[in-house]
Amino acid sequence: MEIVLKTPLFFWGRLVLGLIFIFAAFEKILNPADFAGLVFNYQILPDRLINFTAVFLPWMEVLLGVLLVFGLWIPGAVILVNLLLLIFLSALMFNAARGLDIQCGCFSTGGAMTSHVTLSILRDVGLMVLALYLFYNIFLSETS
């Protein structure tokens, strides 16, 4: 577990990212049917994969969040976090580019929150930077 006890920045980075992932999954786990609607609205996945994605994705987020917070399986968790954020970012940008005005569904499943796609993209980029920092520290930096 030598990875866990890296620089303070690394420690806080994984803690913050982990908590954000857990927080993001909370409402989706409570309302899987609503979240399925959001996934559907993205108009990216084939219909048959919508329900599975809506059920699976939040639990993956929770598990990744817990692993990050407790410093377990960090290399694997960081790979998946990066992959996931990349997928989210691509999906957001893809729909922004084709002019589909849909809710992000990133942190909430409610319909009341107005969504601003640019804001969602920027937020995702911010998380991505954090995740890439962790990735760099584990896999690419000299001391790793």
């Binding site: 559907f40 609205n41 939040p58 598990l63 290399p75 849909i102």
Partner: protein, 169 residues
Amino acid sequence: MRCKGNKWLAGLLQAVGILFISALLSLIVNGLRPDRLPILADGTSRFRLATDPGKNLMVSLDEAKKHYFDRSAVFLDARSPEDYEQGHIKGAFNLPQENMEEKFSEVMENIPPERSIVVYCDGENCRSGSDLAVFLLEFGFTHVKVLVNGWSVWQENHLPVERNPRDIS
């Protein structure tokens, strides 16, 4: 170098493990809850924005705007009469689910089946709009589209609305 290679391998194995555990966890929890989603079934009829494969009922705001200003479509408000009274897209007719039977003929009798229709409700996930659209399609109207979260996006873009001051109490 050897250490680095191990790290990648460990990372990949852990990643696979995490995917596996997440899938297991999610399927177990989904199986236990009373409001479980059918995992393998196509559950999207609940959202009903796509009917036949490849036929997408969603209309973008730009298209809806074009329809609106060209007067090439009828706008139908699927929200409750109370919501409608408080404000709606200017010129839209109210066709709420709750009194569909009495309102249907009143609203739809002068609309030819091939006329373009844009249905909206409020909220990204409101189903009344898409339910109404599917109902109209089944009824024989051929050009029905849904403006997702219509009332909100319409207001956000400062497009023409109509409000009834009497009913705002």
